[in-house]
């Protein structure tokens, strides 16, 4: 039997593999293929010099900090004082930065294809074992948060 499964990348995957090895599955009968994620084709952001520009928070927090300093300064002369005005200004800066960045991302992502909302399969894991072990392997994979599991029998040998 060969048992196919998909996983997210997490410590559970290594826990599953090590448990199967402990239960007698040999290392050469375990085959893993890490997948590349869906390519985010955004040339404006994913260049060599600025690829963490994709984060929606960077401009937002930067603007929040700047606005907050100015807001707190002016707040000393206003009725609500520097703390309230500092917070209001920080929030305003964050929202403006967030809108700018999501606007840019939306604009650059236009027509880049459908988006998947479900949890992505990041690793394909194939376990080869005898029919007597199949149930054990299947249960182990599900218990370690496999996203999907399927069994295939070898038609030539009947394994």
């Amino acid at each position: 039997m060969q048992i196919f499964s998909t996983f997210e990348q997490s410590q559970y995957l290594e826990l599953a593999i090590s448990l199967l090895e402990q239960k007698g599955i040999r290392k050469e009968n375990i085959y893993a293929v890490p997948l590349n994620g869906r390519k985010k084709n955004i040339p404006l952001f994913d260049t060599l010099r600025r690829s963490d520009g994709y984060s929606v928070s960077d401009i937002a927090i930067a603007l929040a900090t700047g606005f907050s300093v100015i807001g707190a300064s002016i707040g000393f002369t206003l009725a609500w004082g520097p703390i309230y005005w500092g917070l209001i200004a920080a929030l305003t800066g964050f929202v403006i930065g967030f809108l700018i960045k999501t606007g840019i991302i939306k604009w650059t992502e236009r027509g880049s294809g459908p988006k998947s909302r479900s949890r992505p399969a990041e690793v394909i894991l194939i376990i080869q074992c005898g029919p007597d072990q199949a149930k054990l392997v299947e249960d182990t994979l599900w218990e370690h948060l496999a996203l999907g599991v399927a069994m295939v029998r070898n038609d030539e040998t009947g394994d």
Binding site: M1, Q2, Q9, S10, Q11, L13, E14, I17, K27, E28, N29, I30, Y31, A32, V33, P34, L48, R49, R50, S51, D52, G53, S55, S57, D58, I59, I61, A62, A64, T65, S68, V69, I70, A72, S73, I74, G75, F76, T77, A79, W80, G81, P82, I83, Y84, G86, A90, E122, V123, I126, Q128, E138, A150, M151, V152, R153, N154, D155, E156, D159
Partner: protein, 262 residues
């Protein structure tokens, strides 16, 4: 004990997992790093992982700023009271400040561009790196952390987000300085008065010179914790991917041409 020791077999490593935290290369936006240096000298370098330079520039800025009354002058300037701003400033100190301030911005921008190239070279070389470290005082390992939790803890108290993602030295530094800024600005005294509805009293109890350090420190520690939680997750995935390819791709493994039975 480390799971893998760097024996200078590689030209460059992507990451170094040690007891005090994980230092790693990842591509960054030089404008964002430059902006943080402008918000507070040292922050840009800290974001790059150049901690000693960051600490040095930060300490310099706090020392000069307090002596020159720079924050007070900034407050007057933003209020449009230019005359009072001029009077508040101590000329002796403010002129020392300018070259260091500009250097911090320029150097962190330049370093980002250089480190991005080095990241690309290290990524192409893809040499194994240490991913686990255990010692008498600490344990550090690659793992997935939730960036939202990193932000929430940072907002409660700057430094907690860094502690959550095992950036211990930086967390200690931020703790120390946020304690000083909170205390000397009388921030919590004012917060209590605000809760009681005494807004004017709250304003008068605040020390403006110290208060103006707080927004930068809050913003920086939140961004640092958020960004590094995400980058740490990416590093974990990179390490796991390399491990699976190295250990679980036996050439003799053949896929069965059969039917799905279940």
């Amino acid at each position: 004990m480390d799971d893998y020791s760097n024996r200078n077999m590689a030209r460059r490593y992507k990451a170094y997992v040690n007891l005090f935290g994980t230092t790693y290369l990842h591509p960054r936006n030089p404008y964002i790093i430059g902006w943080w240096s402008a918000a507070f000298p040292g922050f840009g370098h800290l974001l790059l992982g150049e901690y000693l330079r960051g600490f040095l520039l930060f300490l310099w800025e706090v020392f000069i700023n307090l002596n020159a009354n720079l924050n007070t002058a900034m407050i007057y300037s933003f209020q449009g009271k230019i005359g009072q701003a001029k009077q508040a400033l101590d000329t002796q100190w403010i002129l020392i400040c300018i070259p260091v301030y500009l250097f911090a911005i320029w150097d962190s921008y330049r370093a980002t561009v250089e480190l991005n190239k080095i990241y690309l070279l290290a990524k192409r070389e893809n040499h194994p790196y240490k991913s686990f470290s255990i010692g008498a005082f600490e344990i550090n390992y690659l793992d997935k952390r939730n960036p939202v939790m990193a932000v929430i803890w940072s907002l409660f108290m700057p430094g907690l987000g860094e502690l959550y993602i095992s950036r211990i030295v930086l967390a200690a530094f931020i703790f120390l300085w946020s304690a000083a800024f909170f205390y000397y600005s009388h921030f919590f005294q004012a917060v209590v008065l605000l809760f009681l509805g005494k807004i004017e009293q709250a304003t008068s109890v605040l020390n403006s010179e110290w208060l103006l350090f707080l927004p930068s420190l809050y913003g920086f520690s939140t961004y640092d914790a958020y960004m590094n939680a995400i980058e740490g997750n990416k590093l974990f995935e990179d390490d796991l991917k390399n491990y699976l390819i190295r250990e679980y791709q036996n050439p003799s493994f053949k896929i069965f041409k059969g039917n799905r039975v279940k």
